[in-house]
């Protein structure tokens, strides 16, 4: 039986771990106004370096910590130098996307090197527990607390008493003014990335020892938790990040005590959304302080879209429509069906992120809502699947828009964080709402697609159906974009303050974009559910959200034809070259990085 004191101790210890991640995020955000989505990957790398050191090299604990910190710092320096510094003059969202790409690449490299199976990371400390009041505490708890406090102290001394530390603080407050004092901002960036990575790496190692297990799923979780703690504490605020982390640790620990482990993450993300909506500058920002620079600037790089004659499009559609009449393999049709489904998701995202400028990182949640709605409608209410899919689209449009609406007032990077969190919340609600969603078991036996009483079972009929749906959605979206509405969307994207001054209601237009986008994504999810016949809370995950984002950037943000071409390319090319599944995510990450760096306007150009 655990006492409240135990939960408190556990909360503080976990909070300490989060703090090591969040402080790094805060330092980086402070000097470069960037949310570093690769922070969790460095944490993962730290855990695996720790594993190599402990299990293979048998290093003693103090040396292990030093090795991990140093190696992680090197990774951080490499990321700064080669991943981010070249993007200094790019659009605002470019570095953020680059860190997402880097995190994919790092995670996959770790997975390929060490296999996805979890490994045990022994703690190297005696397994005893001391009585402390009504609770107990072990040596590892003390180690984590000690590392946390020591790091905080070192960081304080660095920031307060060293020249480079002063440069970091000055840059965080006013980058241009710091440069005018002779501060070399690149060195400052290097310093914060090195420190952040060292702290993050050690944190990953400690967590691995704490749970005596490491696996590649740690990465995204750590990034998410660190971001939550950092935003709760106020982006860029280092002491705030520490307090935010401890708070998050306690909230989670007590939440788990009351409701059970599967709710742990739900608390984190709900806390994040509440803070983002009510106090976007964090809990501890004093009133007199101006809010951090609004993180505006979309990714829409100025470009002239490639003009594709209508005839070419017609021929292309006709060609794809006639394809099943030729002796093509089932495998080819299957691949293209996946491309059409991804194409619908990409249509949705290119509208929201490209045309409207709201870079969503949680788009897979819309798939999930559509899929679950359609599956449950057809299974429990015996609705014909054709109608159920439309129901899925409508539900995704309504619920998706409703869920995202609290964050309509956010801008830039904050939109990305909020959508990411909302996506996670949807997945966690699906996991926990067992009476409706069947929880972790998932839904099986979902009936196949049918239209007017005819089951669509043959690959060609499914192929035609999904192609037709996608083409219809694309045509609708094309009409939408050339209408007055499309112009208003772009006006808001390009300058929301000016747009508001012209009397455009931001909430109304953002709602419309999400309603349309939610519908398209929900339809895609609905169709997918009937094709897969089994879905669970992990079927539609963050990886898909990021894949969709890569697709729309590849095609050119806002570009309808580009979204579809991008889907075909990213789904088709790996198949064409027979690239093994475990390398695909790696390739998507690399594609994203290359695009951000060399061709932010995508293949067909932004609109």
């Amino acid at each position: 039986m655990s006492s409240w004191l135990d939960y408190t101790i556990n909360g503080l210890i976990v909070g300490n771990v989060y703090a090591l991640v969040a402080v790094g995020l805060a330092l980086i955000f402070g000097v470069s106004r960037l949310i570093n989505f690769a922070q969790g990957s460095i944490y993962l790398v730290g855990a695996y370096i720790g594993w190599v050191a402990v299990v293979r090299l048998h290093t003693p604990l103090p040396l292990t910590i030093i090795v991990v910190a140093a190696a992680a710092a090197v990774v951080g320096l490499i990321i700064e130098r080669f991943g981010l510094r070249p993007l200094q003059n790019s659009v605002r969202i470019a570095p953020l996307l680059a860190t997402i790409g880097i995190s994919f690449v790092l995670d996959q490299l770790v997975m390929l090197t060490f296999s996805p199976n979890p490994r045990a990371l022994p703690s190297q400390l005696p397994d005893v527990r001391f009585q402390l009041g009504g609770g107990t505490i072990g040596p590892l708890d003390l180690l984590i607390a000690g590392v946390g406090l020591t790091s905080a102290l070192l960081l304080f001394v660095f920031l307060r008493y060293t020249k480079l530390g002063w440069a970091v603080r000055a840059t965080a407050q006013d980058r241009d003014a710091a440069m005018q004092m002779g501060v070399d901002v690149n060195r400052v960036n290097q310093a914060v990335f090195g420190i952040a990575a060292a702290l993050g790496g050690v944190s990953g190692m400690l967590v691995g020892m704490y749970y005596n297990q490491i696996d590649t799923a740690m990465s995204l979780q750590a990034t998410l938790k660190g971001v939550v703690a950092e935003v709760v504490g106020g982006a860029g605020n280092v002491p705030g990040a520490v307090i935010g982390s401890l708070l998050l640790g306690l909230v989670e620990s007590y939440g788990v005590a009351i409701l059970g482990t599967s709710y742990r993450n739900l608390f984190a993300f709900l806390l994040l959304v509440v803070v983002l909506v009510l106090r976007p500058n964090g809990l501890f920002v004093s009133a007199r302080q101006a809010p951090p620079e609004p993180l505006t600037g979309t990714f829409v790089a100025p470009s002239r879209p490639v003009h594709i004659p209508r005839l070419v499009l017609l021929v292309a559609v006709a060609g794809f429509a006639l394809l099943p009449l030729f002796p093509v393999s089932f495998y080819v049709l299957q691949t293209l069906i996946n491309a059409w489904l991804l194409g619908m998701l990409a249509l949705s995202l290119t509208l929201v992120a490209g045309t409207m400028g709201q870079v969503s990182l949680g788009h897979a949640a819309l798939l999930a809502i559509g899929a679950y709605t359609s599956a449950l409608l057809s299974l429990t209410l015996a609705v014909p699947t054709g109608l159920a899919v439309i129901g899925g689209g409508l539900m995704s449009a309504a619920l998706g828009t409703l869920l995202i609406s609290p964050s309509f007032r956010l801008r830039g990077h904050y939109v990305s964080i909020a959508t990411l969190a909302i996506g996670e919340i949807v997945s966690l609600v699906i996991l926990n709402w067992e009476s409706v969603t069947r929880g972790p078991i998932g839904i099986s036996g979902i009936p196949p697609l049918s239209l007017f009483g005819y089951d669509l079972i043959s690959p060609s009929s499914v192929y035609w159906f999904s192609l037709a749906v996608m083409v219809v959605l694309a045509l609708l979206q094309g009409r939408l974009l050339s209408s007055h509405l499309g112009r208003s969307f772009r006006a808001i994207r390009d300058d929301d303050i000016a747009a508001r001054a012209y009397g455009l209601s931001l909430n109304r237009y953002k709602s419309l974009a999400f309603i349309f986008g939610g519908f398209a994504a929900g339809i895609s999810g609905g169709i997918a559910a009937h094709l897969y016949s089994y879905i669970n809370h992990e079927t539609f995950n963050t990886q898909q959200s990021i894949l969709a984002l890569t697709v729309v950037i590849l095609g050119g943000l806002g570009n309808v034809v580009g979204a579809i071409a991008g889907s075909v390319a990213l789904v088709g090319l790996p198949e064409l070259f027979r690239i093994a599944a475990e390398y695909r995510i790696l390739i998507y990450g690399i594609v994203l990085l290359l695009l951000v760096r060399f061709r932010p306007q995508g293949l067909l150009g932004t609109i």
Partner: protein
């Protein structure tokens, strides 16, 4: 009185600057002679601050040359330019609001490594700006506008610059502080620091400047010794009449 013809310290020649498609400077040429106070006058959005940024390397010109002490500044980074001996008092002061006054002033000496001399210079600043003595540990952001201007000037002096560039140093200050700032600029200049300042308030600036240039939508429309310009009817009409300075 200076009897030898002064040699140029800073020159801008035929500078053309663009923000995207919009051209901000048209063949801008300015010379700051060693030991002089040179003032750049001009209305709102005429391109004055951008001129400062060109000198400091914060904005790159599309064409033209900028030299300091005979060497080109083109292609150098801002920190490199600062190390050549140019200090700045930016528009609206731009202090590090959450750092203490003391830290702000010492940040000015960031490029220096002679700790003892820096400490002595800090003491010297406190005799030059006696009011700051009691404020040293206060947050810079909590000071009044005039006090902040003093900190910004002390901060600029701490690098022992050969030249200081200032962007509207009297903007938003009470008349008392305006006089104090002008007096200080003059005394800074008397110890051998050249000054390039940007101002909207022509009558004040011409009071202390040796030479002045008048910028209008990116073009120099008038230039010459300050004394001559003060009596120039075109200046009087365009600026002195309209100036709201107390």
């Amino acid at each position: 009185m200076i009897n030898t013809s002064p040699e140029p310290l800073l020159t801008l020649s035929n500078v053309n600057t663009f923000y995207g498609q919009a051209q901000v400077h048209f063949d801008l040429s300015i010379t700051v002679s060693r030991g002089h106070i040179v003032c750049l006058l001009g209305g709102n959005a005429s391109g004055k601050s951008t001129t400062m940024k060109i000198i400091l390397g914060l904005v790159k010109p599309r064409s033209g040359e900028v030299t300091f002490d005979g060497a080109s500044l083109i292609g150098l980074s801002t920190p490199q330019i600062v190390r050549r001996g140019i200090a700045s008092v930016p528009e609206a002061r731009r202090l590090f609001a959450d750092m203490s006054v003391r830290e702000n002033i010492l940040m000015g000496a960031f490029v220096r490594n002679d700790r003892e001399a820096v400490a002595q210079d800090l003491d010297r600043m406190l005799t030059l700006f006696p009011k700051l003595g009691q404020r040293l540990s206060q947050r810079a952001g909590s000071l009044s506008g005039g006090e902040q201007q003093m900190v910004a000037m002390a901060r600029a002096l701490m690098s022992r610059p050969r030249m200081i560039v200032m962007d509207e140093p009297t903007m938003g200050l009470s008349p008392l502080y305006v006089d104090r700032v002008l007096e200080l600029i003059r005394s800074i200049n008397q110890v051998g620091v050249s000054v390039f300042m940007v101002e909207q308030n022509a009558s004040l600036a011409l009071e202390i400047a040796h030479e002045a240039y008048v910028l209008q939508t990116g073009r120099i429309v008038l230039s010459g010794p300050a004394r001559a310009l003060k009596d120039d009817p075109r200046i009087r009409d365009a600026y002195l009449g309209g100036s709201e300075a107390a």
